[in-house]
């Protein structure tokens, strides 16, 4: 449980109580957990297997889902469920059998109202996940811009 990034810093019994709010969801190989643009009602903790996060891209006039990131056991996906406008900005697919715990926004908000210290700790963890993604993609974006500059100015 301490390996779950969303629950880092929580006491084991408190982490167990947060997990108990969730619902286990099993995904078969190739099954989609959520799709780009869907309404985001739950955040997901990967328990088993891994998930591919993809975005559509035009490749030779065909729309293809291109890998953007992979999330594995202990990691969180779908934080769009906690951030307005509550729409998924990626598509998540299980390339192999996987299992996740779905925590609904409604259940989390209700629990955090009663347990603000837990809400604060989880919010900090969510901001770490979001911040890491931001920094990572900022660096990746700048590397691509650098290549464009080299191509144009060569």
């Amino acid at each position: 449980m301490t390996d779950i990034d969303l629950l880092r810093g929580l006491a084991p019994d408190e982490a167990a109580r947060v997990l108990a709010l969730g619902e286990r969801v099993e995904l078969g190989a190739g099954e989609e957990l959520f799709h780009l643009g869907d309404s985001a009602e739950s955040i997901y903790l990967v328990v088993l297997g891994h998930l591919r996060l993809t975005l559509p891209m035009q490749v030779r006039n065909h729309e293809e889902d291109v890998l953007v990131e992979e999330r594995s056991s202990g990691q969180t996906v779908g934080w769009s469920a906690l951030i307005p406008p509550y729409r998924f900005t990626l598509t998540a697919i299980a390339p192999v059998d996987a299992e996740v715990i779905a925590l609904s926004r409604e259940a989390l908000n209700a629990y955090f109202e009663e347990h603000p210290a837990t809400g604060y700790a989880v919010s900090l963890n969510v901001s770490c996940v979001i911040g890491h993604r931001l920094q990572l993609f900022q660096a990746m974006w700048l590397r691509e811009v650098q290549r464009m500059v080299e191509l144009r100015c060569a």
């Binding site: 490749v59 890491h132 660096a139």
Partner: protein, 110 residues
Amino acid sequence: MEMLLMGACLSVFGMAVVCLAFGAATRDLGNPPVVAPGAGKEMARAAASPARFFVEPPVLPMAAHSSVPIEALLLQIENHVRQEHAAAECFLASPSALLLHSRSVSTFVN
């Protein structure tokens, strides 16, 4: 007689060479080759640069070749994303300009 035969052979050979050259010159005029996205500018730049003796022509990235099957192209993109992801993780672990612009071995851009 031998001279006549040799002349005939040379004529046939010359005709074959002319046919091959004509075939090569008129091939695929109606169907311009499909170019991979992103390769157009590079190829245009390569075509626009003046021809120079003893200078090797620019090597296009592997993905620029339209003969690469789409599955292989998608794999290249996927490997590229993974390598860029890893490079960005290295940069975040120890931020520096050197690590931010470290080279990768991605065939998609090399």
